[in-house]
Symmetry: C2
Subunit: 136 residues, 2 copies
DNA sequence: ATATTTGCTTGCAATTTGCAAGTGCAAACA
DNA sequence: TGTTTGCACTTGCAAATTGCAAGCAAATAT
């Protein structure tokens, strides 16, 4: 990812400069699903990201302050990755992507159930989700 | 873009399989701003997409039924690209990306004004925007 | 008839990806 | 007290994708 130059001042373009690739949002997704993940946790995801790509994306997301590294309580060797507030605030984007995908393809039933709750009270749902993610 | 295989059944992942790159959403953006664009119009955008990348992205977005080609009324040589309903329904995603970018960077004042309207009545704003895009 | 515009395609170098294997270090084990 | 194991990466390299420049063919303008 090219941290140095924005292609334009368009917000879509500058967002894509940060996470416009096939992998970054999957890391964000994993962290929204699990709140904190180790390097190995990301590797377990069904999309099977390569280890070098994962390392480079984690670094870039950290540089853009979407995620942050913290020490794992169990061992000094292990690291926990988690979302920063900037990352947590991507919740509405992620939900709207999910809602869009739901219209045009089959999505897992847990996601569908989540959307059902979301649609009952969008603002409330997002507020709760964000608060939950900011807790730990 | 790889139209052949989904990496997983996760809605984020399958969405990224369609438009997870640095350019596709900029094409969608241009079409949301202008409703219909020619090949040359896309080239005029500030991010300066290369002609071969543009051609390949237009083809892939067409295959995924996000956009469609229509004849230009003026000439047989010219083509108009526009969003399909599937593309139009990406409006909430695009707005939430814009809102997120607005929190962490400086965005053009027209976009900021748009967000202000959006925040007054999110549902209403989106409904109107979608209706407007579906008109032509 | 000739020139120009439009929507691409082609060629090629540079960058990025994806896969496999390797490395270094903490912690567990013997 | 070695030795092994597991975890978090790094490295090497082939393959794919990107980005730039140039080319090209059909339609339109002159």
């Amino acid at each position: 990812m090219n941290k140095n130059q924005k292609r334009s001042d368009c917000p879509i373009s500058s967002s894509l400069d940060i996470w416009g690739d096939k992998w970054s949002l999957l890391i964000v997704r994993d962290l929204m699903d699990s709140r904190q993940c180790t390097y190995g946790d990301f590797l377990k995801s069904p999309e099977k990201i390569a280890t070098n790509i994962l390392a480079s994306r984690l670094q870039s997301l950290e540089e853009f302050e979407i995620i942050e590294k913290t020490e794992h309580p169990d061992s000094k060797r292990k690291m926990f990755y988690k979302l920063t507030p900037k990352g947590v605030n991507m919740v509405p984007i992620m939900i709207e992507i999910t809602a869009w995908a739901d219209k045009y393809s089959t999505i897992p039933k847990e996601r569908k159930a989540m959307l059902k709750e979301y649609k009952k009270d969008k603002e409330g749902f997002i507020k709760t989700a964000i608060k939950e993610l900011k807790k730990v």
